[in-house]
Amino acid sequence: MEKMHVKMNVNGKEVDLLTEPRTLLIHALREELGITGPHVGCSSSHCGACTVDMNGMSVKSCTVFAAQANGAEITTIEGLGSPDALHVLQEMFKEHHGLQCGYCTPGMITRAYRLLQENPNPTEEEVRFGIAGNLCRCTGYQNIVKAILEAAAKMNEIKESA
């Protein structure tokens, strides 16, 4: 089958890929663009390790063809913060031991980012419901939930003081 051009803005950078239509977005990111933050945990859209932000939506990039993302704006964990300026969520995950093996972490933080964009003052229940598309096998979620709630509070503080 013929390859096709897929243009995307990934973490603020315009990219133009020549790829097979069947290439999944996760593989386009990881293997063609070298963006290995999002992971593959189940490839059946259950675990959420592959979560990226696409046009303001959290999506499981194992269940999206790169072709469907043509023209899309994509943000991955790599685009959320930088080593010198971590995103508040990244800070809070460290602070509250919200990760262990780290495999779910990029997807989890990327999902939490969108959740807080849509709901800056979530309750614990809303956080739990909001990250229910992301599985973690290590933490039991308790510290993840804590980290997200703390991040929400911190982000609101920053907003107020600005």
């Binding site: 790599e78 780290g102 495999y103 229910a132 599985l135 973690c136 096998r137």
Partner: protein
């Protein structure tokens, strides 16, 4: 100078040593997506391998046609058993002394068994190749019930060893029988049971499940034909053991093999074993001359690699009328699947199942385990537990509850009556273990008080009455569990895997400016070794943890060790770390004595320095000593400051804990709601409380999953019915409750810093707590035993069988 010395507390705090909730050094890279997992590796020319797998549980392979696959663009090779046979690699040894097909050799013995290995440009081309390989099968009768394995007309699964009456663990009485393993005194136990006031008898089934780490298994094998070196990056919980095994089965000299475990996305026992994917990748790299990657997908993972549990435990427990336990008898039928690939120390084919007397002073006991072949995937790994300890803990904690029912006693009271007492430690168990230390009563009392046990029982009784009056359809269960683990395998005198003693190691180099690197034979899969081992060292050698780099997982640089599983890292490698640190300190003391012009014995250790006794103003800090070790010619002392320790533990460690779960159960829908989970752990000395708490949260969640729904189920044809994350239960944040953690500290007397290990305790103790809560809710209605997992329909069936649906 004295005035300039900060107080002891301040200097201790600056080290971030033992007992501090130090933030993890691993997190910087993980939170930024900069972890380096095996599937992140990309190399020039790298190919991708994928398996053709059997759709059948038992079938003869009549033919394999690879022609169409080979003709596809991007497909480089298709390996079958016939290709591996000349290399002697179509079968491989298992960790349990059996052998396993790498690729189907004439027949397949479980669904999803590896049949052929397609090597192609990338995973898409490989999958195309897999789809194009045509395999002709002739279906054979399937054996899924281990109790039918030795019946007349049962199909013989392992034709390769059908005639062997002697296996790796003694006599085999049937072609489908693997071993019988016994522990304790059978006759004495039978005698005690025969004379007992009360005997409770029950079959306790701990169902088949799977560790299911979020990252599946995989590797990249790269054979450098120019230098003759083989490098394999992979999801290995025991990289050195993999190197030795790879050398033994491939014939490649061990110094020419380098095994690297990069970051590992969770293991939980899944990544201890050696899988056909590793072997095929290595062969494919040798054949093609380029690196070959193999990454299994989730269904492959669940269906083909490393199940856990599947123990049918028939128990009899006896007691006096007033509840003093007198004897315990257990016969276990262990379903090992098609190949005996259990990851247990060689002398323990049923692991440490003989810890099944638990936390109780049971004078007489006997255990027998029969290993059985069935048409299921091989494995039998320790899923977040030390070898078969969670089976043992579940067994005894169920038997205690059942005995309490029989005696008409409160199950908490029965436990108190039979706990091993504090002054009985070190305690010799009837099945041969020496428990190092414990104080069960203290933690148990604390736990009962914390949950308000007596009030809960009153509430429960009131609920039962309300239920009987038709006012509610919800029952209340109080799940009690007191577990004793046996971890830290183990003493070389009785613990080895494939002949490799289960010691572990640490090597330390202090740099001239007073920072350090330590390398260990273990490998973190999320436990945070780089954080906690640096803390152990900081306290031992007086250098701040943040100045100590930890490195694991590269067999070319790390000292030999047996890896990370069975909660052995802290008990064994943690001890090696402390001991290596002490060697550093001993040498540092000599250097300090030379610099201060005093005798070695005139110095005393003070947090981060050696001080002349009685002259606090005269001291040398570790930083000063480190520099001196590189620039001073000290008579009789070699330059540099390095040490290595290979630690052979004198005994196992025995962490313990008291867990209580309060659960609401809807008898009509079978749904449950966790109201409270209280977990008190005693893991001896606590290295990093934050990490301990995180381990407990995670282990409890895995326990919750196992107890409430997580299983690898087969239908009668041997098809796996739970091969995706839709059906294989992994709870989300919504199904997972908050946990309340607590602790007591009873150090291990034989461990250098008194630590016992904690990672697996919450799984071992959690499963009985959750399961007992379900059973306890129905106790008033006559339930003694039901099978896990307690998913909605099974709970509903229980309610129905008790007549609770009118």
């Amino acid at each position: 100078m004295n005035e300039a010395t900060p107080p002891k507390e301040e200097r201790t705090a600056a080290l971030s040593g033992l007992g501090t909730s130090r933030k993890r050094v691993e997190d910087a890279r993980f939170t930024q997506g900069k972890g380096n997992y095996v599937d992140d590796l990309k190399m020039p020319g790298m190919l991708f391998g994928d398996f053709v797998r059997s759709p059948y549980a038992h079938a003869r392979v009549k033919s394999i046609d690879t022609e169409k696959a080979m003709a596809l663009p991007g497909v480089h090779a298709v390996l079958t058993a016939a290709d591996l046979e000349p290399l002697g690699l179509h079968w491989m040894p298992t960790l349990a002394g059996d052998k396993q097909m790498v690729l189907a050799d004439g027949k397949v013995l479980f669904q999803a068994q590896e049949v052929a290995f397609v090597v192609a440009d990338d995973r898409y081309a490989a999958a195309d190749g897999v789809a194009a390989v045509k395999v002709e099968y002739e279906e054979l009768p399937v054996l899924v019930d281990p109790f039918k394995a030795e019946s007349d007309g049962a199909p013989v699964l392992r034709e390769d060893i059908a005639d062997q009456t002697e296996g790796a663990h003694g006599p085999r009485r049937h072609p489908n029988h693997i071993f019988t393993w016994e522990s304790g005194d059978r006759e004495a136990t039978e005698a005690v049971l025969a004379e007992a006031d009360v005997v409770a008898e029950e079959m306790i089934y701990y169902h088949r499940t799977h560790p299911c780490p979020l990252e599946p298994c995989g590797c990249v094998a790269s054979m450098d034909k120019v230098n003759g070196k083989l490098t394999v990056w992979g999801t290995f919980q025991a990289p050195h053991a993999v190197r030795t095994v790879a050398s033994l089965i491939s014939g490649i000299a061990e110094h020419n093999i380098r095994i690297i475990s990069p970051d590992i996305g969770g293991g939980f026992g899944n990544k201890v074993g050696v899988y056909p994917g590793y072997v095929c990748s290595i062969v494919a790299s040798i054949v093609t001359g380029v690196p070959v990657k193999w990454i299994e997908d989730r269904s492959d993972n669940l269906m083909a690699t490393a199940f856990a549990r599947d123990y049918w435990m028939k128990g009899r427990i006896s007691a006096t009328k007033d509840g003093k336990i007198t004897g315990l008898h257990c016969h276990t039928t262990a379903d090992h699947g098609a190949f005996d690939a259990c990851a247990d120390p060689t002398k323990f084919p049923a692991g440490f199942m003989n810890i099944c007397t638990g936390s109780y002073d049971i004078p007489t006991a006997y255990l027998a385990v029969d290993g059985i072949y069935t048409n299921k995937a091989p494995g039998g790994v320790a899923y977040r537990c030390s070898f078969r300890v969670t089976e043992a803990a579940y067994f005894i904690e169920r038997m205690i509850e059942i005995l309490a029912i029989k005696l008409g006693m409160d199950a908490a009271e029965l436990r108190v009556k039979n706990f091993i007492k504090k002054d009985q430690f070190p305690y010799q168990s009837a099945l041969g273990w020496e428990y190092d230390s414990g104080d069960y009563h203290t933690g148990w009392d604390k736990a009962l008080k914390a949950v308000g046990y007596e009030d809960l029982r009153k509430e429960q009784a009131a609920r039962v009455e309300a239920f009987k009056r038709g006012e509610t359809r919800m029952l209340l269960g109080i799940g009690l569990s007191h577990f004793t683990e046996i971890v830290g395998a183990g003493p070389v005198k009785n613990c080895d895997i494939l002949g490799l003693g289960m010691f572990d190691s640490c090597e330390i180099r202090i740099h001239p400016t007073g920072s350090a690197i330590a390398r260990l034979g273990t490998i973190s899969q999320g436990q945070g070794h780089a954080t906690t081992f640096a803390q152990i060292l900081a306290s031992e050698i007086g250098l701040p943890a943040e100045d100590i780099t930890l490195e694991e997982g590269d067999t070319d640089t790390a000292p030999y060790g047996l890896g990370t599983y069975g909660s052995r890292s802290t008990p064994v490698a943690g001890a090696a770390t402390a001991m290596a640190g002490r060697k550093i300190r001993a040498k540092a003391q000599m250097i300090a004595a030379y610099l201060l012009e005093v005798h070695d014995n005139d110095l005393e250790w003070d947090v981060d320095r050696f001080v002349v006794k009685g002259s606090p103003e005269r001291f040398k800090t570790m930083k000063e000593i480190a520099f001196a070790s590189y620039n001073q010619a000290i008579p009789g002392v070699e330059p540099g400051l390095e040490a290595v320790s290979y630690y052979d533990p004198p005994n196992m460690t025995y962490p313990f804990g008291s867990y209580i779960c309060v659960m609401e159960i809807n008898v009509d829908t079978g749904t449950t709601e966790i109201r409270q989970v209280y977990a008190l752990d005693d893991c001896g000395t606590r290295i990093n409380p934050m990490i301990i708490e995180g381990q407990v949260h995670g282990g409890l969640t895995e326990a919750l999953a196992i107890a409430m729904g997580q299983e690898i189920a087969y239908d009668e044809q041997g098809n796996v019915t739970t091969g995706t994350l839709m059906d294989f239960f992994v709870p989300t944040a919504v199904e997972t409750p908050n946990y309340q953690t607590d602790y007591t500290v009873t150090p291990s007397p034989h461990h250098p810093i008194g630590a016992k290990g904690v990672g697996e305790s919450p799984n071992v103790g959690g499963v009985p707590a959750f399961s007992n809560a379900v059973h306890d809710a129905f106790r008033a209605f006559g339930l003694t035993q039901s099978n896990m997992p307690h998913d909605h329909w099974r709970i509903w069936k229980t309610a129905q069988s008790l007549g609770l649906h009118d």
